[in-house]
Amino acid sequence: LAQWVLVELQGEVEPRQSGGLAGSLLGDLHYTCEGVPVLIVGHHILYGKVVQLEKPFAVLVKQGGAPQPSPAGPHGHYTVTALIKTKLLFRTRPKPIITHVPKKV
């Protein structure tokens, strides 16, 4: 079973351009030498931490593209595609990146 990672962000992610998120860039994920995850999204820097999940997640993928889960529960066939045991939690408020426009000399 594949091992994936969960990235947890505060708030919502919206596409810069209309047309949905598929295919668009989110940002660059770095780690400091001490292992602190740093995410650069648009004009923001987010600092986070690596968390080992007490209760891992399974990623379920619906087979056959049936309708969305109903309130009574998810019906239909699902496959466990991956397990997630680690998450990168970004809870700190994003620091905005202020870009300087260099003065022409």
Partner: protein, 391 residues
């Protein structure tokens, strides 16, 4: 979108005023995969043990008809599923490495292009629950087996259920279902699980007890072979063996198969046979007839009837009536409503057999009573009644 280059990544770092010397060399460029917004992926939070089961290659199954709340089943446990919302956004990223993994593999790529497979702001939570097995009996009771000569069986258009059928219809794990089939003395006939019609079952039992009596076998040592020989002309051999298995404990002695008969279970079945013929009975009359009806050497006791019959000590004379726990609702609140509808006040001793099966793992009858009932004293005895007025 075009893949980012190292130069672009470095430029972003510079703009962000981050010092590359303080960072690990590898960067993950995260983008949303083509399927990302599709909603076909969802997250399931795993209870202890389930992760290990998945890694060992076992599957989990979600079961439930459209009108039922879905449950998740491992091979031996059942869990209720509930959606948990979070105010945060959860992105699931394949192939994303942790700092440990990057440090462990110094040759790892400088740029890792990771596609976010999906995202969500909710996930499924699991809570261990009692398997929902009442439906199993209900399905098998649609067409109880009445013997090979039964007309109904040959022309029957009722549903018959194989193990596979039951697995898709019952909200319980396979082990829980197979265990329950054993508990209710179901048997497989021509590949279908069947429950015996009670009268037919008593007929079979009667053949066996009469034979035990006429052969003067000890109740603890009833030989299988002799039973099959003597009774094989009356009933199918599988049925004779089935009744012995249902009402006895099979063992082998000196290469031969014997059964140690369950006195309590036989007495209980005979009580049911007597009680089902009327609404209620005079207790002392019943006890007399009951003792006379059981096989020689067996002793009847009222505690054999727990969960099957209820004694009314307040009536004069005292009476007894049939009340089967398996006929009562499966849901906790509905069960208590039903019990308080039958009798306003219950002692703990009387109500326990009728709520014992509701106890979750590590839950006690006392805890159930605290939650669903209110206690008071009646003639110096603690009794329980409903928390709410019963209409």
């Amino acid at each position: 979108a075009a893949m980012r280059s190292r130069a672009e990544v470095d430029a972003t770092l510079q703009t962000a005023k981050l010092n590359p010397a303080e960072l690990l060399p590898a960067v993950h460029c995260l983008s949303f995969g083509p399927q990302a917004g599709g909603g076909e992926c969802c997250l399931l939070q795993l209870e202890p043990g389930l992760c290990a089961e998945l890694e060992a290659g076992h599957s989990l199954v979600i079961r439930g008809e459209k009108d039922e709340h879905a449950v998740l089943c491992s091979k031996d446990k059942t869990y209720d599923m509930k959606i948990a919302d979070t105010s945060n956004m959860l992105l699931f990223v394949p192939g994303c490495k942790t700092p440990e993994q990057l440090n462990a593999d110094p040759a790892s790529c400088n740029i890792i292009h990771s596609q976010i497979a999906g995202f969500s702001n909710n996930y499924w939570e699991l809570r261990r629950c009692r398997p929902k097995l009442k439906k199993l009996r209900k399905l098998l009771m649609e067409d109880p087996y009445n013997g090979p000569d039964s007309q109904k069986d040959q022309t029957s258009t009722f549903s018959k259920y194989t193990t596979e059928d039951l697995l898709s219809l019952i909200q319980a794990s396979e082990e829980e279902i197979l265990h329950q089939l054993q508990v209710i003395d179901a048997c497989k006939i021509e590949g279908y699980w069947r429950i015996l019609d009670f009268d037919y079952e008593m007929k079979l039992l009667n053949h066996v007890t009469q034979l035990i009596d006429s052969e003067s076998w000890p109740l603890s040592k009833v030989p299988l072979c002799a039973c099959l020989e003597e009774l094989g002309s009356l009933e199918p051999r599988e049925m004779i063996e089935h009744i012995l298995v249902s009402y006895g404990r099979k063992y082998v002695d000196a290469g031969e198969v014997f059964f140690e008969m369950h006195e309590d279970k036989i007495c209980r079945a005979i009580a049911q046979m007597l009680l089902q013929n009327a609404v209620k009975f005079n207790l002392s009359e019943f006890e007399e007839v009951w003792q006379q009806s059981v096989p020689e050497g067996m002793t009847t006791r009222l505690d054999q009837l727990q969960g099957l019959a209820l004694v009314d000590k307040s009536s004069r004379p005292e009476t007894i009536f049939l009340l089967k726990v398996e006929d009562l609702p499966e849901d906790n609140q509905e069960r208590f409503n039903s019990l308080f509808g039958i009798r306003e006040k219950w002692t703990e001793v009387d109500i326990t057999p009728y709520i014992q099966d509701l106890c979750a793992e590590k839950q006690t009858v006392g805890a159930l009573l605290t939650k669903y009932a209110r206690s008071s004293m009646l003639n110096g005895v603690k009794v329980y009644n409903s928390r709410r007025p019963i209409s």
